[in-house]
Each structure stands twice: as structure tokens, then as C-alpha cells.
């Protein structure tokens, strides 16, 4: 009971500290902007720990953060192998293939109004397919190793990138296009000098959404068959053994990898679209 009360206190304390920081005079500095979410996360983890211990939640339902941390520490090499298999081989390769394919497709659709009209509705329809369903099919087609995981990722990221890129390539204002007309610029000249830069904010929107989809897709696909390594494999088998601390350790890896991936893409975005109003301050 004391622990539960403590949890409430920790929560209030964290919130109070953050209010002070966020509304204080240094709120705009980089350190504070990093510190605030970190404090929030830390508070969350503390509350979790205290509640799990205080309410004596069994390990097989929800492990405490300390349990997860020790499972994490004890299985570093396993986690690393799983990470390589699922993230590097499955998610990353699928992401690269899917995004490039979507990009090329977007250019084709951009060049042909007919294809764009025809493909966009179909694309939107296909994008609505629940991947959970495509995963068993793709595992059946592409085998148990990472190829099928990459295929699932390709399917998942393709449409968000395609739709955003197509929308982005049409984002130029009439005046900007007319300017190119008066220069009698060729298609590729106006593509590289006008439409691509103007489309970048949109393309990155798609790329950012896709980062989270990629990892989740690769993990989910492993539930439907995999070699004996991989984050999804480990999660599903550990659930069977009720080794929930290990499950959560993998989830932590997933969250770390996913957030890092997102962060990297967001940073590239920032450096390439610094000129866009949403990036200016």
C-alpha cells in the first residue's frame, strides 16, 4: 500500500518538475527539451515499478522494470542476434526496398495522369489490407528466413510512401510550375529543381510513418514462422514459456530501435527540409 501511495507521489512529483521546466525560462533550450520527456518516461517507469511491487502483480502477468532490466542484461547476446535478424535483415532491407519501389512508382504515376487516376484508388484499397493477414501468405511464398519478413515490410511501407510522394509531387504551386514553363525546363529539370524539393516534406511524412511500420511488420511476420532467431520469434516463444521478462526485454529493444530509426529519419528530414515552415522556429 505504501508503495502505491509512493507511486502517486512520484507521478505528481515528476509532473510538477516538468511543469516547472516546461514553463520556466529555459524551456526553449535543447537540454530542457530532451530532459522533459526523459523525466516523464522515468516517472512512468518508477510508477510501473512501484505499482507492480505494491500490488504484487505476478511476474507472469506483468514484470517489474527491474526484472526486465535484469533479463535484458542477462541476454545481451541473444537480444543482439535477434536485433540483427529482425531489424537489420528484415525491417531495414524491406524498408529500403519498399520505399525505393514506392518512390519509383510515384514518379511513374506522376508522369502518367492515367496511371495515377487508375492506381491511386486501387492503391488505397490495397493499403487497407490488414497485414496480419498477408503475413502468413508471404511466409508461405518467401520462406521462413528474413526474406518473407522483408516482403511483409515492403507491403507495409509501400503505400504510405507512395501516397505521400504522389501528393508531394503535386504540391508545387501553379506559379512555381509556371516559372519552370517560362524557362522551358525539361521534365527532369523541373523534377529535380522544383518538384522533388517541394515534395520532400511529404515524402518524409511517409518515410517517418513507415519507420514504425517496418519494425512492427517484421516482428509480426515472425509470428507466422521463422528460423529460431529473431525478435518476433523470441517474443512468441517466451510468451509460451511465460518468460515475460524476456518478452519485455525484446519490446524494449523494439522501442529503442524503432525510436532511434524514427529519430534518424527525422534528423535527415530536418536537415533537408530546414526551409519548410513547420521546421522553422
Amino acid at each position: 500500500m505504501i508503495l502505491v501511495i509512493l507511486a502517486v507521489l512520484v507521478w505528481c512529483g515528476g509532473w510538477w518538475l516538468n511543469s516547472r521546466l516546461a514553463n520556466g525560462s529555459h524551456a526553449a533550450t535543447r537540454e530542457v527539451q530532451l530532459l522533459v520527456p526523459v523525466i516523464f518516461g522515468f516517472t512512468l517507469v518508477m510508477v510501473w515499478q512501484l505499482l507492480v511491487r505494491g500490488l504484487m502483480v505476478p511476474l507472469v502477468i506483468l514484470p517489474a522494470p527491474t526484472d526486465i532490466a535484469s533479463a535484458f542484461g542477462a541476454n545481451l547476446s541473444k537480444l543482439w542476434e535477434d536485433f540483427l535478424q529482425t531489424f537489420v535483415k528484415g525491417a531495414l532491407s524491406g524498408y529500403v526496398i519498399g520505399c525505393s519501389a514506392a518512390f519509383l512508382m510515384a514518379i511513374v504515376m506522376d508522369r502518367s495522369d492515367f496511371l495515377r487516376r487508375g492506381l491511386l484508388p486501387v492503391g488505397n484499397f490495397v493499403a487497407a489490407l490488414p497485414i496480419v493477414g498477408t503475413a502468413p501468405i508471404l511466409v508461405m511464398w518467401f520462406g521462413f528466413d528474413w526474406h518473407s519478413k522483408a516482403a511483409v515490410v515492403v507491403v507495409m511501407v509501400f503505400f504510405p510512401v507512395l501516397v505521400n510522394t504522389v501528393a508531394g509531387l503535386r504540391e508545387t504551386s501553379a506559379m512555381q510550375r509556371d516559372l519552370m514553363q517560362t524557362y522551358a525546363a525539361s521534365y527532369w529539370q523541373s523534377f529535380f529543381k522544383l518538384r522533388l524539393p517541394a515534395a520532400l516534406p511529404f515524402i518524409f511524412n511517409g518515410l517517418k510513418i513507415s519507420t514504425t511500420l517496418a519494425l512492427v511488420g517484421a516482428i509480426v511476420a515472425e509470428f507466422f514462422g521463422s528460423p529460431t532467431v529473431g525478435m518476433g520469434f523470441r517474443i512468441s516463444t517466451s510468451v509460451g514459456q511465460l518468460a515475460l521478462d524476456m518478452v519485455w526485454a525484446e519490446i524494449v529493444v523494439a522501442a529503442l530501435a524503432g525510436s532511434l530509426f524514427y529519430g534518424v529519419v527525422a534528423m535527415v528530414e530536418k536537415s533537408l527540409t530546414f526551409w519548410h515552415p513547420s521546421q522553422r522556429r
Partner: protein
């Protein structure tokens, strides 16, 4: 009536016919029980449901139940309607496999979720590594269908005599194209489909009494199903909410299941338990249980139920 929630470990099928029969025929009602049967699936770990209070009893394979026990969830086997194991490996004959020694260099699909331990134990008994390569087997985590075999992504896959094996045959493969290895015959069988409850609950006499009545009615259901397999299959079909099961398949499954339950009156044979434990402890590195479990089963319920 007393409420009992039973967590199955798979979707509604004839594997669980005894319980559906007991429900349908009113055997539970006769014992003044109000039983709810909760279907399972690959995403459901019955021990977890039990721990969360979502069910009062569960069906489980013993490896998984013992693992839960070691993880700090004290579940106890209170009855064991299944005497023999239905687990086996099914291989293409044209791969040249005739005995376990031929597994070297082959790809084998195995169910995980705790079911891999009998397999690992078997392989270590045979002296075959499970890390792939020339002298070992390549292990795949098999999903819950027989595609890997049919698509020839694997040379052998795990099947249950009553379910997946039938599916392989259903897809047009004839029995003489296949070679099978029953875990039972290889001496690595583990107990399947036992009834488990939480140790703490069993200390409560009222709960004990409820379980006695539950086991009694369930066994009555099982024996009825054995005697009337065709009717039992129909009852199962009526209870399948997903509408995915077919009549023919359930009929055959019931026939096979009857063979597995035949030798049991519901009471656990301690010798079977000991064999299961030794198989699990012989699983080589990274075993699912590390020591012989204490108090993992009790006869008190079955003794009372079957007088």
C-alpha cells in the same frame, strides 16, 4: 450452480470433445456446475489466463505447465484424461529419411511455445545438433499449419496424429509418401492435455469440491465421447463459433482422439509424470525446467471424483 471457467489451449475442435459433450449432455449441470469453455489459440498462453484470474482451470501440455511452475506460477495437475501423446514428426519419404539418424542436414519444422523441449531432448538423445549445418538439423519455428511440408520448405514438420496429419492427407498426399515418427515410440513423449488449477485455490475446500465435480463430469463426457465419436464430433461442430471446421475433419479427429484418451480414467500415472520430467531435463542446453518439480500433481481430486 457453481461457476467454472475452463481455458482450452486451442480453437474449438474434437481435441476437446469430452468437455463439450459434458456441457452439451448436461453432465456439468447434473453436478450443479455452470461451466464456460474458453477457446484458445496460438496467442493464448493458458497459464497466463489462469494467473490473471481469467479462468479457474486450464488444459495444458505438461512441459508448458511445469515451465509456468518454475516461473513462479504454481499450477497443479489435477487430472490427466490423455494417456498417450499424439505428437509426431511427419517427413517426406522421398527425402530418404528412414530413421532419426537421417535427420542430419535436413530442415525440420517444430512447434515452439514450450513444445520444442521434447524435440530438443530427443535430438540430444540422438546426438544431433540443432544448429543447422551438415551434421545437425535446421530448425524452423513452424506456424500452425502444414504448408511448410506441402510447399517443401521443410523436410519434416510437427503434426498431431489427430489434426495436422489428417490435413496432410486431406491435401491429397497418400500415406505411403510419408514417414512418421511418434514421440511416444521414440520414448520422448510428454503428457498432453492435462487439467490444471492453481495451488492456492486448491487449498480452499469449496474449490476442491468444485473441481472434484468438474473432473467427474468431464471424465463422464470423455467416456461418452469415446463411445459415441460421431455424435461427439457433431457436438463440437455445433459449438464452433468461427464456422471454419468441417464435418469430415472433426469426425476423423474424434476417432484419433479416442485412441489417446482410451487408456486413462482421468487419474495421472506417476510413471508418466516421471518420464515427462526426465525427458524435459534431458533437453540439452537452456532447458525449460532445471530441477525436478515438487507437488506439480495431486491425486486428491481424481481420488475423490472417481471414488
Amino acid at each position: 450452480a457453481d461457476e467454472v471457467r475452463l481455458q482450452l489451449q486451442w480453437v474449438t475442435q474434437a481435441q476437446f470433445a469430452g468437455y463439450y459433450v459434458a456441457l452439451d449432455k448436461g453432465f456439468y449441470g447434473e453436478e450443479d456446475l455452470d461451466v464456460t469453455i474458453l477457446p484458445g489459440g496460438p496467442d493464448i498462453a493458458p497459464p497466463q489466463v489462469l494467473a490473471g484470474g481469467g479462468a479457474d482451470v486450464m488444459l495444458n501440455w505438461m512441459p508448458s505447465a511445469l515451465a509456468a511452475r518454475e516461473k513462479g506460477l504454481p499450477v497443479v495437475n489435477i487430472a490427466q484424461p490423455f494417456k498417450t501423446s499424439g505428437l509426431m514428426l511427419t517427413c517426406w519419404k522421398d527425402t530418404g529419411i528412414t530413421s532419426p539418424a537421417d535427420f542430419k542436414g535436413k530442415t525440420i519444422g517444430v512447434w515452439f511455445y514450450g513444445n520444442e523441449y521434447p524435440f530438443l531432448s530427443w535430438m540430444s538423445k540422438e546426438g544431433i545438433s540443432t544448429d543447422g549445418g551438415e551434421d545437425g538439423v535446421t530448425v524452423l519455428k513452424q506456424g500452425f499449419n502444414v504448408d511448410p511440408l506441402l510447399q517443401r520448405q521443410a523436410d519434416c514438420i510437427s503434426t498431431m496424429t489427430y489434426n495436422e496429419y489428417g490435413q496432410v492427407l486431406d491435401s491429397g498426399v497418400s500415406e505411403d509418401e510419408l514417414v512418421t515418427f511418434k514421440y511416444e515410440d521414440q520414448g520422448v513423449a510428454t503428457l498432453e492435455d492435462g487439467i490444471y488449477a492453481l495451488e492456492a485455490n486448491l487449498e480452499d475446500p469449496a474449490f476442491q469440491d468444485k473441481m472434484v465435480r468438474f473432473v467427474r463430469a468431464s471424465m463422464k463426457g470423455w467416456k461418452y465421447a469415446e463411445a459415441n465419436p460421431s455424435e461427439a464430433a457433431d457436438i463440437v461442430l455445433d459449438n464452433d463459433a468461427s464456422g471454419a471446421q468441417t464435418e469430415a475433419h472433426q469426425q476423423r479427429m474424434m476417432a484419433e482422439i479416442a485412441k489417446l484418451t482410451a487408456g486413462s480414467n482421468g487419474s495421472l500415472d506417476p510413471a508418466d509424470f516421471d518420464r515427462t520430467v526426465s525427458t524435459l531435463l534431458g533437453g540439452g542446453s537452456d532447458p525449460v525446467i532445471t530441477k525436478v518439480p515438487e507437488g506439480a500433481w495431486t491425486h486428491s481430486i481424481t481420488d475423490a471424483a472417481l471414488n
